[in-house]
Symmetry: C2
Subunit: 133 residues, 2 copies
DNA sequence: CCATTTTTAGTAATGATTACTATTTTTAAA
DNA sequence: TTTAAAAATAGTAATCATTACTAAAAATGG
């Protein structure tokens, strides 16, 4: 599939690039409609997804559509399979070093906390790729 | 508000603690129904949220309900305000050090990538807390 | 036991996203 | 430049995870 050049895609991209606010699709829809009053919300969604897939824009967040829960409340880390969507615990000794640096970063930024997640394919995963974002 | 002791909450928690799979609410609902066939999906949702709020279980993922997009595709980091949900870019020199350690971690884990996100209140945020998860 | 608070099951509503479809636009080659 | 194929569009309907609502039931603490 090739990208066609359309005014909709051009305006969506240029408006997104002007913003520092990391907008949602519907926020961008509101902005883009000032230039293209006839554009539809579905067009905004479709173009953002296509451009994210192509690496032209960044889609924030790794998490899927559904919330996931963990009975283990100790600090530990997860790896999410981009193909089947499964989430598994991972362990690595270097993470304590990462945590100590990030605790300094938190002070610098005056932030409250951080979240780290890994992506990687399950060893035993043969399922077709699912859209996890 | 105090927690009452109910069989629903007890079974939800004990079944969750048995699992390594980080289930979604509806996956857990399916499992819990084997013990309590009359339980409703809403009860599972409500109890998981309450227990997450109380720190008894962990809710994975930080991201909100809506996807967010960024025109800047260079590697950089975000801080999400737990009160108003806004997402802002943050910068810190220590992050390059974190990245170099994490690239070793990726090799160890045979993972593909990582995602880091910070939480922290906006300086100018007076909005009431919104449920971002 | 009893009044108050909390929780429940069941159902309806919400809201973000995706799917569908007939039409229009873009593309690239003749 | 036509022109046929491919891609994209607007508008609408459908989906699906989650939340809200409600009357009834259960738990709590005196």
């Amino acid at each position: 599939m090739k990208f066609s050049r359309t005014s909709q895609r051009r305006v969506i991209l240029s408006e997104l690039r002007k913003l520092k606010s990391h907008p949602t699709a519907d926020e961008l829809y509101t902005i883009v409609r000032e230039k293209l009053p006839q554009i539809s919300l579905g067009t905004v969604y479709r173009n953002l997804d296509q451009m994210a897939e192509a690496g032209i824009v960044q889609r924030l967040e790794l998490c899927g559509r559904q919330k996931r829960f963990d009975g283990n409340i100790d600090r530990h880390y997860h790896m999410r399979c981009p193909d089947c969507g499964a989430v598994k615990d991972v362990e690595n000794d270097r993470m304590s070093h990462v945590e100590s640096i990030l605790s300094d970063v938190l002070e610098d930024l005056d932030a409250e906390g951080f979240w780290i997640e890994f992506t990687g394919q399950c060893k035993d995963c043969n399922k077709p790729r699912v859209e996890i974002i």
